[in-house]
Symmetry: C2
Subunit: 235 residues, 2 copies
DNA sequence: ATCCTGGTTTGATGCAGCGCAAACGCGGGA
DNA sequence: TCCCGCGTTTGCGCTGCATCAAACCAGGAT
């Protein structure tokens, strides 16, 4: 598993694009490998941001918890992505929790080498900031979506998003390749698991998806995408 | 007005903290002053991000427009803040439009000097990334709020936010010191101007706010804050 | 003084989606 | 094999808010 630590094997990951093999080798030498069992918390919201991470294998759920104990899923991290990069934005604490959605393998670096690292490897810094840019954009897209679209469309586009980013082709259709519940989807879209369940039952009847316990396979992504983009009733 | 260009006068703005007067002088030498009349667009969503900006005076509304023509207000920029810093995140286009909420004065720099500038003045880069971090955090906070809180609470906290960031003490109470309509508030909170109007009429009756045409004065900020944080019906 | 325009208020009505409740089914552990 | 627990499904009543519609009001232009 940790043979992945061979720089040649991960040199193609987006966070490292533009770096030389030598640079990567020195950077990787500073990393600590990390194994996280399904369900375990890699870090918790509000904790001091001691490390930043690169996910090598698995999926991570980034979650915010409200004062009232409700949860909102900010995003999923797929393998090859950086996460926990609070330090790059001058934050002292993690703004959200990272929970392993499946068994995961990651690398971690101490936060305090961030500045020196960024200075030494500008390409790495640039890549990181691009990642952050993408996430900011994404957050604002979702904000707009929450403000203007109704539940059905939000759920449809959440599923499409997951499929795009983490879909695996099977003979049935495209499978979201980590366990995901109705509850999870409701926490991504700001609704209740009941509503998600109802919607998906409907789609299952229409043959758009096929789903089981924590398992979703999309068959008619075009049709789903129609739903995601269809006008609400008026304006 | 543009006497403000004197570095000594703006050296205390957060984006420049940690820089020497000399550094600021060279940086300011590369800036172009800019005047934007109320209502004018400084840049539009989707346009090529040729410049980044520092607002010296006024207020800017950062707006996203949906495919259906609806608008969502992403945030307000107050004087002393940077905006349009897409280049720092490797974005080619502005992700939102910037509209002058009042007559504004700003400085602009060409985007392509960003990287050299960030390299030459690390403090400036750090400050900028902190700003971005704050905005990412803010976007995600609002996302959580949209997902979990009901309209009344969202409107209350939006108003409190505006008051905190742009409030001016008057004999009546704290005034939001730029023109802001019910419609604007609805576009910040994902509701309709009707609902905002109803809510605010109620608060006006209760003596929590006093408001006129595009003018809002908050009297009972503690009470408002209670509303903003009160539990929804259940859980 | 009068009109016009853009913002605001208020009423009436309908429905999407939530809260609550109960039952179901699959998969894993004993 | 049976049981238990967690995820899921489904029904029902209720309500928060959107939608539609109309009137109102203040300030600037003529």
């Amino acid at each position: 598993m940790l043979t992945k630590l061979d720089p040649a094997l991960i040199r193609d990951l987006p966070p490292f694009s533009g770096m030389t093999l030598d640079q990567m080798t020195t950077l990787l030498a500073k990393a600590t490998p990390l194994r996280a069992d399904k369900g375990s918390h890699i870090f918790d919201m509000g904790a001091e941001a001691r490390s930043f991470f690169l996910l090598l294998d698995g999926y991570i759920r980034v979650v915010r918890t409200t004062p009232n104990g409700e949860q909102v899923i900010a995003r999923y991290i797929a393998s090859g992505e950086l996460f926990g990069i609070a330090e790059a934005l001058g934050m002292k604490q993690y703004p959200a929790s990272a929970v392993a959605a499946v068994d995961c393998v990651a690398l971690s670096w101490p936060s305090d080498i961030w500045h020196a690292t960024a200075a030494a490897y500008p390409a790495f810094a640039t890549n990181t900031y691009k990642t952050i840019g993408g996430r900011l954009q994404d957050a604002q897209d979702r904000l707009v979506e929450m403000a203007t679209e109704r539940v059905e469309q939000r759920v449809a586009s959440a599923i499409l998003n997951l499929v795009e980013r983490s879909g695996r082709q099977t003979d049935d259709g495209i499978l979201i390749d980590f366990p995901i519940s109705r509850q999870d989807i409701s926490e991504m879209t700001g609704t209740t698991l009941h509503t998600v369940s109802r919607l998906m039952s409907g789609w299952e009847n229409d043959g758009l998806v096929k789903s089981g316990r924590q398992k979703i396979t999309v068959i008619g992504s075009e049709a789903l995408s129609l739903i995601a983009n269809k006008e609400g009733s008026s304006q």
